[in-house]
């Protein structure tokens, strides 16, 4: 079933040239969700955050849950592309671009949410460090200011990481199409030629990016977790939050990636490229992350329960036994009890199995973010100020709209870019030669001037 480069090219570029009616229906539906969210946001700007369900003391709920959730999902690409690239895991080749796309889109959505959730969004530029006539700068001690820099860095890095390998593929589209498409892709690919110098520069750049993006990704979600850990709220002020959130992010990211891959495989007929082995390998990674997630959750809860500090126990019991217990136990079932058997037993670790596990994990991880934020805020230190939170139509619409936006971006991505990196897949076919091929001529450095004197006796 080994494919030739020509076949690969044809299969992977085909979705860009042909789209079914089903595709356009999906785009339309996703666009409607995005529009609904935009209208809700405009209404919120006009009327006030009062249309949400927030109250005193629960000042963050769905908004920050979604923010942390999307930034978490974005860790898919970094793990797959960067870490697997550095580890030279060859099975990653068909998966890298879908993963990087998820990263860029999820970070973009995650970056929009803080701007939209503040009370006066038209003044969001106050967070940007610019020399103002008031001589005032942002407060660099604030975790939200750290968020600003971290997300900007991560977005720049992951966008670069996504766009650079696309350039050769866009050049391929340019060379195999005509008319307007040829012109547009010709501009997009920056006139890519394919000389060895260009290939080397590109691959070295990607190597550097892979090394740099991993610490950035770790720092981004750690800083997001410090939005909570830097405040004196019972069960927020915990040193475990940094690693806990990073693990949870990678966990939810891989799950989202598996779902995206399964959908692409089905709708773009990529059965021969996204094979069961890829889902198996990702499934094993997911199993590891599920175990890690369980370990962190257990460690955090055990130490809280053991200390039996009254303020923390109020939050603890509300999630284990009282109001939030149904959500909490649903989360445990979704994140651990269902996925672990599916992913651990080889017979169950099929494409369908990993998709079921991934779907429950995505739901479970959203619930986990919610349960970190709201129960703690509902029960702060003074019992007189305990509150209650219930979401309104506005928050649910905005949340659904964020999912719709993600779907829309991904659908457009599948249309305008080959979802599997064509040149990387082709390069994986031939690999490096067994022994490096030296030239039969003594190789001279380019431009050294020695080539004026060839060796005697050469033909």
């Amino acid at each position: 079933m080994k494919k030739t480069p020509e076949q690969i090219q044809q299969d992977l570029l085909r979705p860009m040239f042909h789209s079914s009616a089903r595709y356009w229906v999906a785009v339309a539906l996703a666009s409607c969700l995005v529009l609904a969210g935009a209208c809700t946001f405009l209404y919120q700007v006009y009327t006030g955050i009062g249309i949400w369900g927030l109250d005193s003391p629960v000042f963050w709920a769905f908004d920050i849950t979604n923010f942390v959730f999307w930034i978490g999902i974005s860790h898919a690409g970094t793990l797959i592309s960067a870490i697997l690239r550095l580890a030279n895991a060859t099975w990653r080749r068909p998966v890298t671009r879908c993963a990087e796309a998820i990263t860029v889109f999820a970070v973009s959505i995650g970056a929009i949410i803080p701007v939209c959730h503040i009370g006066r969004p038209w003044l969001a530029y106050y967070l940007i460090p610019y020399p103002s006539e008031r001589h005032i700068w942002p407060n660099f001690r604030s975790p939200l200011a750290w968020d600003f820099f971290a997300i900007i860095t991560y977005l720049t890095g992951s966008t670069t990481f996504l766009l650079l390998p696309m350039i050769p593929d866009w050049a391929a589209v340019r060379d195999t199409s005509t008319g307007l498409r040829k012109r547009i892709y010709g501009i997009l690919c920056l006139g890519w030629r394919g000389t060895p110098r260009q290939w080397h520069r590109l691959e070295t750049a990607m190597h550097v990016m892979a090394i740099v993006i991993v610490p950035v990704a770790v720092s981004v979600h750690t800083i997001v977790s410090w939005d909570f850990a830097m405040t004196p709220v019972p069960m927020w002020r915990s040193t475990i939050f940094g690693p806990y959130f990073v693990v949870g992010a990678i966990f939810s990211g891989i799950a989202a990636l598996i779902l995206a891959m399964a959908l692409l495989r089905k709708f773009l007929h990529l059965e021969e490229y996204l094979q069961p082995i890829h889902f198996q390998n990702l499934g094993k990674l997911l199993l590891t992350m599920s175990a890690l997630w369980f370990y962190f959750t257990f460690a955090e809860r055990l130490t809280t329960w053991y200390a039996n500090e009254p303020s923390e126990m109020a939050v603890f019991w509300t999630t284990i036994r009282q109001n939030f217990a149904p959500l909490f136990w649903t989360m445990v079932v979704c994140n651990f009890i269902i996925p672990v058997p599916i992913l651990a037993i080889r017979k169950l670790r099929t494409i369908t199995g990993t998709c079921i596990a991934s779907a429950t994990i995505v739901v479970g991880m959203w619930i986990e973010r919610f349960l970190i934020i709201v129960p703690a805020l509902e029960h702060k230190y003074l019992p007189y100020t305990y509150g209650h939170y219930r979401p309104t139509w506005a928050e649910i619409t905005l949340m659904a709209s964020s999912f719709g936006f993600m779907v829309l971006l991904y659908l457009l991505f599948a249309k305008f870019v080959p979802v599997i990196s064509v040149w990387e897949l082709k390069a994986g076919l031939h690999g490096a030669p067994a022994t490096p091929h030296a030239s039969t001529v003594i190789s001279v450095p380019v431009g050294s001037g020695i080539e004026d004197n060839p060796l005697p006796g050469d033909v």
């Binding site: 030739t4 480069p5 020509e6 090219q9 001589h135 005032i136 700068w137 407060n139 660099f140 001690r141 200011a145 750290w146 820099f149 971290a150 900007i152 860095t153 720049t156 670069t160 650079l164 350039i167 391929a172 060379d175 010709g186 920056l190 006139g191 890519w192 030629r193 394919g194 000389t195 060895p196 110098r197 290939w199 080397h200 520069r201 590109l202 070295t204 750049a205 550097v208 990016m209 740099v212 610490p215 950035v216 720092s219 800083i223 082709k426 390069a427 031939h430 490096a432 030669p433 490096p436 091929h437 030296a438 030239s439 039969t440 190789s443 450095p445 380019v446 080539e451 004026d452 033909v459």
Partner: protein, 177 residues
């Protein structure tokens, strides 16, 4: 820009052809720089590809990171000292929290420098006419000589055929009749 080129089916034949052309370059009146290889994918391990491997990406990225870190340090400490506002018992220029900003801007500096070096060194963008053929995307490697002197064009073509090339082409492609 004119050229004579052929499409080699695999990297070994491309390597042989490049070697043959290099040996013949002096006699036939063209330089090493006029031998052009274009491919649709990278071919590490082959000499015709790896001779361009040396690059300054890593040191430049490190330098870019250093500059970014310095910018982060200056941004945080200078602004905090210029308009010192006391908040929550923390010092005016807390090193640990400023360090987070320094770290992020270090990484951003490395990323942007890598990108800038890629664009400068590739070089990109390079719009305009250049030697290419759509078949490179099917796994073939284009090896050609740009701007061959007219006098030795026939001899160059013979060299191609001697080295095993079977399908000689001209660039720009002759107009269809």
């Amino acid at each position: 820009m004119k050229a004579i080129y052929t499409l080699c089916p695999d990297p070994d034949s491309a390597q042989r052809l490049v070697d043959a052309l290099r040996i013949a370059s002096l006699d036939l009146g063209f330089t090493d720089n006029q031998i052009v290889v274009v491919s649709g994918e990278p071919y590490e391990g082959y000499e015709f590809f790896d001779r361009y491997a040396k690059s300054y990406t890593f040191p430049l990225a490190a330098m870019g990171g250093l500059i970014g870190g310095i910018c982060g340090f200056l941004l945080t400490t200078l602004t905090q000292k210029a308009y010192p506002l006391a908040t929550g018992g923390m010092p005016i220029t807390p090193a640990w929290t400023n360090g987070i900003i320094v770290y992020e801007l270090t990484m951003l500096g490395a990323i942007l420098t890598t990108l800038a070096y890629l664009l400068a060194a590739a070089p990109l963008p390079s719009w305009g006419a250049h030697l290419t053929d759509p078949e490179i995307w099917t796994g073939k490697i284009l090896v050609g000589v740009t701007d061959p002197p007219e006098a030795s064009a026939a001899a160059i073509e013979k060299k191609f055929l001697q080295a095993g090339a079977s399908d000689l082409r001209r660039f720009p492609a002759p107009a269809a009749r």
